[in-house]
């Protein structure tokens, strides 16, 4: 048998938006408990409230973040299982020194690609992951990539336009 089946009591290491965090495991407000989701840790422990929680059961995509290059649902992920992982949230897209918005964020503003805005961080993270892998997607590919992000204000038409505008084809 490899390794020891011991309960974890060591530190948890996360990289969020390029910043490294070492979090203790425990039940204090600055610690991570086994039952904490990544969405909870980002919002409540690290104060990164840009990531939203809507359905809290993996259906709506509002809590989407990028982990090691792939979009995941932070509400359905246990923080304790993210040790050593690198996470990008909506707060990590703007330039850290100039604070200039990511071109994708600017495109959402330019196209008014939101109404209430609650689903927008998740929409942008899904679109960002797509553009990183495929900088010149077709409209169909944009729709596929955003198939897991629900908007109850019906902002989708503007969202697709914004993502297309932010792709390299339009530059």
């Amino acid at each position: 048998m490899h390794g020891q089946a011991i309960e974890k009591n060591n530190m948890l290491h996360l990289t969020v938006n390029g910043k490294r965090y070492a979090l203790e495991q425990g039940s204090r407000s600055d610690q991570v408990a086994p039952e904490h989701t990544l969405a909870y840790t980002l919002r409540e422990t690290l104060g990164l409230t840009g990531t939203k929680v809507s359905c809290d059961e993996g259906a709506c995509g509002a809590c989407t973040v990028i982990m090691d290059g792939k979009t995941i649902l932070s509400c359905m992920t246990l923080t304790i299982e993210c040790d050593g992982n690198s996470i990008t949230t909506i707060e990590g897209l703007s330039d850290p020194t100039t604070k200039k918005l990511d071109p994708l964020q600017q495109a959402f503003i330019d196209h008014t690609a939101f109404q209430c805005g609650f689903c927008t961080p998740g929409m942008i993270m899904s679109a960002k992951a797509l553009l990183r892998e495929n900088p010149a997607p077709t409209e169909e590919e944009v729709k596929e990539a955003l198939a897991g992000n629900f908007c109850r204000c019906i902002s989708h038409y503007h969202v697709v336009k914004a993502v297309m505008a932010a792709s390299v084809k339009s530059r």
Partner: protein
């Protein structure tokens, strides 16, 4: 979520030892997309004491052909199944079935093993605590099935026995048409069962302390046409109302072999053996496809609200055969 003890297993043996130690009070976690619903909704009668993360087990996410067998490790992500050049080329029904699951984010998290082991979607069974659940039912070890007399529009039209929930796994349907088997491992050794036998009316083939290790599919050779079709109300997110996977060989215009599996119609994927036999030696046309569809659904016994599923199943079979 309520507190639990958490472990990272670094080997299959370690996961099995922990399962044994907890004797039914621990559950395995792979992608987590189904398990976390259960933990948040508290719709089961017992909350697990421990969660055993198996994502930390190395080398269990492979997709490879090995002699005359395709082998997929239980931890292969659905997105890996979708994007595998090997699967897209030779086992396309499985790649398409994986692609039909949920959303891009869920496919990046969920594993093939987890997709096969996921819990049923019956709305009585999954009624969450925060709105008055959990509801006891036959599957939870007490009382009768509420869907049998209640709202059963999404329940079984064949094979239901006591519980009328359907198998929610899309990949299971493709694997059933591909003659796939599921390799199960426990502290007492390994065994393998056909995918169609893995699902039982009240649960699945896994006994206490066992886990799925691998999915095997006999190597596909020669010219075969594979299809996976899924009927849902919305294209993303929704579970199948009915799905069909087909693997057919039609050399020189006559059907040599047809394998047709129906999904979301019963507790397990159902192979339409009568239709498969009937098609042998016949040309594939609108007429023969319609006959095969009728033959496939002769055994259907719909409940009060779901006879519409019979018609959808027939239509999907016709489309799958003639596509």
């Amino acid at each position: 979520m309520r507190p639990f003890t958490h472990y990272d297993a670094h080997a299959v043996e370690e996961a099995l030892t922990l399962l044994k130690r907890y004797n039914g009070r621990a559950v395995l976690n792979a992608g987590g997309t189904d398990l976390l619903s259960a933990l948040k909704g508290e719709y089961l009668l017992h909350y697990p004491e421990a969660i055993i993360n198996i994502k930390t087990i190395p080398d269990l996410a492979y997709i490879r052909e090995d002699g005359d067998m395709l082998r997929i490790g239980a931890l292969a992500r659905l997105s890996d199944v979708v994007n595998s050049p090997l699967l897209r080329k030779r086992y396309n029904a499985l790649a398409e079935a994986a692609y039909s699951v949920a959303t891009p984010q869920v496919r990046n998290m969920a594993t093939l093993g987890g997709n096969l082991c996921q819990d049923i979607r019956c709305w009585y069974y999954r009624y969450p605590r925060h709105i008055g659940g959990p509801i006891g039912c036959l599957r939870k070890g007490n009382k009768a099935c509420l869907a049998a007399t209640g709202d059963n529009r999404y329940h079984a039209i064949m094979g239901g026995k006591g519980c009328f929930a359907v198998c929610p796994s899309d990949t299971a349907v493709a694997l059933a048409a591909l003659n796939g088997r599921i390799k199960i491992v426990g502290t007492r050794g390994e065994r393998s069962v056909p995918v169609t036998d893995f699902f039982h009316p009240l649960g699945n083939e896994l006994k206490r302390g066992e886990m799925v290790r691998e999915i095997e599919v006999p190597r596909i050779t020669g010219m075969v046409r594979q299809t996976f079709l899924k009927f849902t109300l919305r294209r993303p997110v929704d579970f199948a109302i009915v799905s069909v996977a087909s693997v057919i060989a039609v050399p020189r215009g006559r059907c040599r072999e047809a394998r047709i599996a129906l999904g979301a119609v019963g507790p397990a994927p159902v192979r339409a053996t009568a239709a498969e036999e009937w098609l042998k030696g016949k040309p594939i046309s609108e007429a023969t496809a319609a006959e095969a569809a009728t033959a496939a659904l002769t055994g259907a016994r719909p409940l009060r609200m779901n006879s519409y599923k019979v018609e959808i199943a027939k239509t999907l079979i016709k489309r799958a055969l003639t596509s």
